[in-house]
Amino acid sequence: MLGSFDFDVIRRSLPYLFYEGMTFTLTLTALSALGGLIFGTAIALMRLSGYKILGRIAGLYVDFMRSLPLVLVIFWFYFLVPYIGQWLTGASRPISVGAFASSLITFIMFEAAYFSEIMRAGIQSISRGQPAAANALGLTYAQTMRYVVLPQAFRNMLPVLLTQTIVLFQDTSLVYVLSIPDFLGAASKVAQRDGRLVEMYLFAALVYFTISCVASVGVRRLQSRIAIIR
């Protein structure tokens, strides 16, 4: 029962949970979102480029990633990245990649598939007259994308991109399967060391809940502020 609830174990482990765990989680979330957005935009551009083969490859990649559970993808990359590293550097044995680098690569590759669908919708939401006008002004394809299409697509899709980032923030907890001390992993380590599962997991749930809630309220505010009135 809750009568024996021990708040002290939470207080004692706060520095470890936040300085180590939450820092890892937030850094991983931010870098994965950034990398996922860059790769995702590239994939979206490939799909909309008009080159059949490029579009096919990008489409296959997106469908493939979206059919697999994230846990399986995390395992895949955890074991695969050392071999890819060996192949790239020409080393004689699989190179060792840190836990952070491995999970960062995983999340960038995985989230790129989801971000690309959002960016594709964003690019398609731009009226056809815009690239046509850019073309008429003599802008190249790269300039059209850089100065006309992508800024608007990004702005239109910003709330969706941020919502996806909140989902990503929650999904980073899955690096637990590699025993990496992200926020949940750190909480779980303390929980098992001190035999305080109830306190630590309830606290972790509360922290995730609060951050996600505050973030989604923020996204909703932003959405009403930046909506373009047409």
């Binding site: 559970p69 074991f79 044995r93 599962l197 109830v198 309830l202 995730y208």
Partner: protein, 243 residues
């Protein structure tokens, strides 16, 4: 040092004594499907109730639905599973907690209920959007015909709403299948879990994960094809997707 490929590994006996490694993976696949189907039934039932509550005129029902969805959407699935699996038995009265802990197949039930409730919040949002997309006249016509609120939902609003939201529900079902893999953390030996144990026993990591990947892709393809057929069958005449 290079990786030693050995595709014949699937036909070698596994150390659990339950046949070959392939049998091990297939038993994982069956468990994945069982968990996903049970979770999906739970998600559909609770999600529909909560989704309807969010569209009722009653403020109380609306706020309950709102709180329910926010609660299940703002926590990682992994954390929710931990709450059900590790925390719930401890905070229940002693006898109930003990009964829960001694339940045979505890990971299976926890995973089904945990994933089911997690997905129910998503189903609720979809259903709310589906009901909201119906013209206002439908609800009014139901009232004008003398149908009670329950009858109005049963005979007018829900049959239309469910047919409209079938495509997004398909992807939610696919998400349910994928999300069962998270239950590896509470010891459920579903497909990903069995691929992992095959990797630990045989060291043939890439063969194990390749097989699991192919099985997931197959399941995906079967579900998508099946739902396409169903979608065509139930499409509402007169809508874009209709005949």
């Amino acid at each position: 040092m290079t990786y030693n490929w050995n595709w014949g590994i699937f036909f070698q006996p596994n150390p659990m004594g339950t046949g070959t490694y392939l049998d091990l993976l297939l038993s994982g696949l069956v468990l994945t499907l069982e968990t996903a189907v049970l979770a999906w039934i739970i998600a559909l039932i609770t999600g529909s109730i909560v989704g309807v509550m969010r569209t009722l005129p009653s403020r109380g029902a609306y706020w309950f639905g709102f709180a329910y969805v926010e609660f299940f959407r703002n926590m990682p699935l992994l954390v929710q599973l931990f709450l059900w699996f590790f925390v719930l038995p401890e905070i229940l009265p002693k006898a109930a907690g003990l009964w829960l802990k001694q339940l045979p197949n505890a990971p299976f039930w926890t995973a089904s209920i945990g994933v089911g409730l997690f997905m129910s919040a998503r189903v609720a949002v979809q259903l709310q959007a589906g009901i909201g997309s119906l013209p206002r006249g439908q609800r009014q016509a139901a009232t004008a015909l003398g149908l009670t609120t329950v009858q109005g939902y049963r005979y007018v609003l829900l049959p239309m709403a469910f047919r409209i939201i079938l495509p997004p529900l398909t992807s939610e079902f696919l998400n349910t299948i994928k999300n069962t893999a998270v239950a590896i953390t509470i010891g459920l030996l579903e497909l990903t879990g069995q691929a992992r144990s095959m990797q630990e026993f045989s060291f043939q990591v890439f063969e194990a994960f390749t097989a699991a990947t192919i099985l997931y892709l197959l399941v995906n393809a079967v579900v998508v094809t099946g739902m396409r057929i169903l979608e065509r069958y139930v499409a509402i005449p007169g809508y874009i997707t209709g005949k």
